[in-house]
Symmetry: C2
Subunit: 97 residues, 2 copies
Protein backbone atom coordinates (compact mmCIF):
# COMPACT_ATOMS: atom_id res chain seq x y z
CA UNK A 1 0.00 0.00 0.00
CA UNK A 2 1.99 2.97 -1.19
CA UNK A 3 1.07 6.62 -0.70
CA UNK A 4 -1.87 7.67 -2.76
CA UNK A 5 -3.98 10.76 -2.22
CA UNK A 6 -7.22 9.99 -0.45
CA UNK A 7 -10.05 10.07 -2.91
CA UNK A 8 -13.49 8.76 -2.11
CA UNK A 9 -14.82 6.89 -5.11
CA UNK A 10 -18.54 6.09 -5.26
CA UNK A 11 -17.92 3.69 -8.10
CA UNK A 12 -15.85 1.58 -5.76
CA UNK A 13 -17.73 2.18 -2.54
CA UNK A 14 -20.75 -0.01 -3.30
CA UNK A 15 -20.43 -3.14 -1.15
CA UNK A 16 -20.09 -5.70 -3.91
CA UNK A 17 -17.63 -3.64 -5.90
CA UNK A 18 -15.62 -2.83 -2.82
CA UNK A 19 -15.31 -6.51 -2.07
CA UNK A 20 -14.43 -7.26 -5.67
CA UNK A 21 -11.62 -4.72 -5.54
CA UNK A 22 -10.49 -6.04 -2.20
CA UNK A 23 -10.37 -9.56 -3.54
CA UNK A 24 -8.41 -8.50 -6.60
CA UNK A 25 -6.04 -6.17 -4.80
CA UNK A 26 -3.50 -8.71 -3.67
CA UNK A 27 -3.53 -11.01 -6.66
CA UNK A 28 -3.06 -10.73 -10.37
CA UNK A 29 -6.42 -12.06 -11.38
CA UNK A 30 -9.27 -14.23 -10.20
CA UNK A 31 -11.66 -16.46 -12.06
CA UNK A 32 -15.23 -15.31 -12.40
CA UNK A 33 -16.60 -18.42 -10.73
CA UNK A 34 -14.20 -18.17 -7.82
CA UNK A 35 -15.11 -14.56 -7.26
CA UNK A 36 -18.78 -15.38 -7.44
CA UNK A 37 -18.49 -18.02 -4.77
CA UNK A 38 -16.49 -15.79 -2.52
CA UNK A 39 -18.90 -12.93 -2.75
CA UNK A 40 -21.96 -15.14 -2.69
CA UNK A 41 -23.87 -13.24 -5.31
CA UNK A 42 -25.72 -14.34 -8.42
CA UNK A 43 -23.92 -14.60 -11.74
CA UNK A 44 -25.85 -11.68 -13.10
CA UNK A 45 -24.97 -9.52 -10.15
CA UNK A 46 -21.26 -10.16 -10.38
CA UNK A 47 -21.30 -9.80 -14.13
CA UNK A 48 -22.94 -6.41 -13.90
CA UNK A 49 -20.63 -5.10 -11.22
CA UNK A 50 -17.58 -6.29 -13.10
CA UNK A 51 -18.88 -4.63 -16.23
CA UNK A 52 -19.23 -1.44 -14.33
CA UNK A 53 -15.75 -1.58 -12.92
CA UNK A 54 -14.49 -2.36 -16.37
CA UNK A 55 -16.33 0.64 -17.78
CA UNK A 56 -14.65 2.75 -15.13
CA UNK A 57 -11.33 1.42 -16.31
CA UNK A 58 -10.66 -0.26 -12.99
CA UNK A 59 -10.94 -3.88 -13.98
CA UNK A 60 -9.69 -5.83 -16.95
CA UNK A 61 -11.59 -8.89 -18.06
CA UNK A 62 -9.84 -11.52 -20.07
CA UNK A 63 -11.33 -14.69 -21.52
CA UNK A 64 -9.04 -17.61 -21.50
CA UNK A 65 -9.65 -21.01 -23.00
CA UNK A 66 -9.53 -23.69 -20.37
CA UNK A 67 -10.44 -27.32 -20.95
CA UNK A 68 -12.67 -26.57 -23.85
CA UNK A 69 -14.43 -23.57 -22.43
CA UNK A 70 -13.81 -19.90 -21.99
CA UNK A 71 -13.14 -18.82 -18.47
CA UNK A 72 -13.21 -15.19 -17.52
CA UNK A 73 -10.45 -13.80 -15.39
CA UNK A 74 -10.77 -10.47 -13.70
CA UNK A 75 -7.92 -8.31 -12.49
CA UNK A 76 -7.38 -4.73 -11.44
CA UNK A 77 -5.84 -2.37 -13.94
CA UNK A 78 -3.16 0.05 -12.75
CA UNK A 79 -5.86 2.73 -12.63
CA UNK A 80 -8.00 0.37 -10.61
CA UNK A 81 -5.25 -0.19 -8.10
CA UNK A 82 -4.68 3.50 -7.73
CA UNK A 83 -8.36 4.23 -7.35
CA UNK A 84 -8.81 1.47 -4.81
CA UNK A 85 -5.80 2.62 -2.80
CA UNK A 86 -7.15 6.17 -2.93
CA UNK A 87 -10.53 5.05 -1.78
CA UNK A 88 -9.09 3.04 1.06
CA UNK A 89 -7.10 6.09 2.07
CA UNK A 90 -10.32 8.10 2.08
CA UNK A 91 -11.99 5.47 4.24
CA UNK A 92 -9.09 5.66 6.63
CA UNK A 93 -9.50 9.40 6.92
CA UNK A 94 -13.19 9.03 7.58
CA UNK A 95 -12.65 6.32 10.14
CA UNK A 96 -9.87 8.29 11.72
CA UNK A 97 -7.24 5.58 11.37
Amino acid sequence: MSHVPARFDPEIHAPVRLRVCGALADVGAVEFAVLRQRLEVADSTLSKHLARLEAAGYVALRKEAADGHLRTWAGLTPAGRTAFAGHVAALRQIAGL
Copy 2:
Protein backbone atom coordinates in the same frame (compact mmCIF):
# COMPACT_ATOMS: atom_id res chain seq x y z
CA MET B 1 -10.40 1.35 18.86
CA SER B 2 -10.87 -1.77 20.88
CA HIS B 3 -11.46 -5.24 19.52
CA VAL B 4 -14.86 -5.63 17.99
CA PRO B 5 -15.93 -8.42 15.66
CA ALA B 6 -15.95 -7.31 12.04
CA ARG B 7 -19.48 -6.74 10.93
CA PHE B 8 -20.35 -5.00 7.69
CA ASP B 9 -23.30 -2.71 8.31
CA PRO B 10 -25.19 -1.37 5.30
CA GLU B 11 -26.91 1.14 7.51
CA ILE B 12 -23.57 2.72 8.22
CA HIS B 13 -21.90 2.15 4.88
CA ALA B 14 -23.75 4.82 2.91
CA PRO B 15 -21.28 7.68 2.32
CA VAL B 16 -23.08 10.39 4.27
CA ARG B 17 -23.81 8.15 7.22
CA LEU B 18 -20.30 6.78 7.24
CA ARG B 19 -18.96 10.31 7.43
CA VAL B 20 -21.46 11.21 10.13
CA CYS B 21 -20.30 8.29 12.23
CA GLY B 22 -16.69 9.13 11.54
CA ALA B 23 -17.24 12.68 12.64
CA LEU B 24 -18.99 11.60 15.82
CA ALA B 25 -16.61 8.81 16.68
CA ASP B 26 -13.98 10.82 18.45
CA VAL B 27 -16.17 13.35 20.19
CA GLY B 28 -19.12 13.30 22.53
CA ALA B 29 -21.50 15.21 20.33
CA VAL B 30 -21.61 17.68 17.47
CA GLU B 31 -24.09 20.41 16.63
CA PHE B 32 -26.34 19.84 13.69
CA ALA B 33 -25.16 22.97 11.91
CA VAL B 34 -21.52 22.12 12.38
CA LEU B 35 -22.07 18.66 11.02
CA ARG B 36 -23.96 20.02 8.06
CA GLN B 37 -21.17 22.37 7.14
CA ARG B 38 -18.57 19.68 7.46
CA LEU B 39 -20.41 17.25 5.29
CA GLU B 40 -21.60 19.89 2.87
CA VAL B 41 -25.07 18.52 2.46
CA ALA B 42 -28.49 20.13 2.64
CA ASP B 43 -30.36 20.40 5.92
CA SER B 44 -32.89 17.91 4.73
CA THR B 45 -30.29 15.41 3.73
CA LEU B 46 -28.48 15.50 7.05
CA SER B 47 -31.74 15.45 8.94
CA LYS B 48 -32.88 12.35 7.15
CA HIS B 49 -29.63 10.50 7.59
CA LEU B 50 -29.49 11.36 11.27
CA ALA B 51 -33.06 10.17 11.67
CA ARG B 52 -32.09 6.92 10.08
CA LEU B 53 -29.10 6.42 12.32
CA GLU B 54 -31.28 7.29 15.27
CA ALA B 55 -33.87 4.73 14.18
CA ALA B 56 -31.08 2.17 14.05
CA GLY B 57 -30.19 3.07 17.60
CA TYR B 58 -26.79 4.35 16.56
CA VAL B 59 -27.22 8.04 17.16
CA ALA B 60 -28.81 10.03 19.94
CA LEU B 61 -30.26 13.43 19.17
CA ARG B 62 -30.67 15.90 21.93
CA LYS B 63 -32.17 19.38 21.69
CA GLU B 64 -30.56 21.91 23.90
CA ALA B 65 -31.64 25.47 24.49
CA ALA B 66 -28.94 27.89 23.43
CA ASP B 67 -29.41 31.66 23.33
CA GLY B 68 -33.11 31.46 22.93
CA HIS B 69 -33.20 28.68 20.39
CA LEU B 70 -33.04 24.96 20.31
CA ARG B 71 -29.92 23.49 18.94
CA THR B 72 -29.68 19.84 18.05
CA TRP B 73 -26.68 17.88 19.15
CA ALA B 74 -25.90 14.49 17.70
CA GLY B 75 -23.76 11.85 19.32
CA LEU B 76 -23.13 8.14 18.90
CA THR B 77 -24.81 5.79 21.32
CA PRO B 78 -22.81 2.90 22.75
CA ALA B 79 -24.50 0.65 20.21
CA GLY B 80 -23.51 3.13 17.53
CA ARG B 81 -19.89 3.07 18.60
CA THR B 82 -19.86 -0.70 18.57
CA ALA B 83 -21.52 -0.88 15.18
CA PHE B 84 -19.17 1.69 13.71
CA ALA B 85 -16.12 -0.07 15.10
CA GLY B 86 -17.44 -3.34 13.72
CA HIS B 87 -18.02 -1.84 10.35
CA VAL B 88 -14.58 -0.30 10.24
CA ALA B 89 -13.16 -3.69 11.15
CA ALA B 90 -15.10 -5.18 8.25
CA LEU B 91 -13.72 -2.53 5.91
CA ARG B 92 -10.25 -3.34 7.11
CA GLN B 93 -10.79 -6.98 6.30
CA ILE B 94 -12.02 -6.12 2.86
CA ALA B 95 -9.17 -3.75 2.19
CA GLY B 96 -6.72 -6.26 3.58
CA LEU B 97 -5.25 -3.96 6.20
